[in-house]
């Protein structure tokens, strides 16, 4: 009995640490505020919080259990797209936190057309990702 309580406690504690870390990470990068700013839906921010929490829980369910849904495969396109956009925003936010681009743009006197530098990174990410899935992992 006492063992079960200890295990429960440890599980709860580690979940708490990982969960709060995940949320803190998202908060620091400011992706959700950015999305509400773009879509002008500041009032819905609580629902977005719940979307993150429920999404994380669904991920936990999918990775700890092995559910199989047996549905057609086309929802995968949507899932891949949304997942990719999320990671893209994550990567962009990380680049921005590290302050790489302003310094680089100033160094080569390109302050005005920083979009060109961003496109280099964006295309690099797309190329790297597609190359990896189509060719790299199978060789």
């Amino acid at each position: 009995m006492i063992k079960i309580i200890i295990i429960l406690f440890f599980g709860l504690a580690s979940g708490l640490a990982v969960g709060s870390g995940f949320v803190a990470f998202l908060t620091v990068l400011g992706i959700i505020p950015r999305l509400t700013q773009l879509s002008k839906t500041m009032k819905m921010i609580q629902h977005y919080e719940w979307a993150v929490v429920l999404g994380a829980l669904a991920g936990v369910g999918a990775s700890l259990r092995d559910p199989i849904l047996h549905i057609p495969s086309f929802p995968l396109i949507l899932l891949g797209m949304t997942g990719g956009i999320f990671y893209g925003m994550l990567a962009a936010a990380l680049t921005e936190v590290l302050n790489v681009l302003p310094i680089l743009a100033k160094r080569i006197r390109l302050d005005g057309e920083i979009a060109i530098l961003i496109m280099a990174i964006v295309l690099g990410k797309i190329f790297g990702s597609i190359f990896q899935w189509v060719y790299f992992v199978h060789h």
Partner: protein, 212 residues
């Protein structure tokens, strides 16, 4: 009567934050500050020379408002001077605008391109993205698939779209006109640089009192 008189004699000065000037330029008060004063004083003040740029100034000169006040007092005698806003102006000497060198630019472009391609591949490998994607494929369809391209290709394109969305450069006009996080970041970076030169290039703002 006396009150009105004093008010009329007051000179209001607001230093500009940054001024760009060509080398060897005579810097006048009207270039580096906004001034409000009685009309006859004003015309004299505006054309007052504050600083002569020379080669020894290099590319940044800080004009402290104290220097301006000192000059006004020495030329116009005792006046009531009120300063508003920043206490100094940064003069940026614009040495003839060099264009962006194309090979250098291309080098950086490909550096960023291959750098981010490498980085995303390392990231995918690090977080076991492949096995997660295969698992998602199996959860949805019930089939095993070592090439779940149906998931992976949209994922890859979405990756790029997400970055563009975050920086909001392509759809800028369409979505809204707020500055993008990167523009805010560029601004903050410039402010930090300005703060640094204000302290470090201004001989008056740091003083060591020797203790012997």
């Amino acid at each position: 009567m006396w009150d009105v008189n004093v008010l009329e004699e007051t000179i209001y000065i607001r230093m500009r934050n940054r001024v760009q000037a060509p080398p060897e330029e005579k810097v006048l008060l009207k270039d580096i500050a906004q001034v409000i004063a009685r009309d006859d004083v004003l015309s004299h003040l505006q054309t007052m020379m504050i600083h002569q740029l020379t080669a020894s100034d290099r590319n940044i000169v800080i004009i402290d408002v104290m220097k301006v006040i000192r000059l006004i007092k020495s030329q116009l005698g005792d006046m009531d001077i009120q300063t508003i806003g920043p206490a100094q102006t940064i003069i940026e000497v614009t040495i003839k605008k060099k264009g962006v060198s194309v090979p250098f630019f291309l080098l950086i472009w490909f550096l960023l391109f291959f750098g981010s391609a490498m980085a995303i591949m390392n990231f995918h490998d690090d977080v076991s993205m492949r096995s997660v994607q295969e698992k998602i494929y199996t959860i949805i369809t019930g089939k095993k698939e070592t090439k779940p391209l149906l998931f992976q290709i949209p994922y890859s394109i979405g990756l790029g779209m997400g970055m563009i969305l975050f920086f909001n450069h392509v759809f800028k006009k369409r979505i809204n006109e707020e500055p993008s996080p990167l523009e805010v970041e560029m601004f903050n970076y410039q402010m930090d640089l300005d703060n640094y030169v204000i302290i470090h290039e201004n001989k008056e703002s740091v003083k060591r009192i020797s203790d012997d």
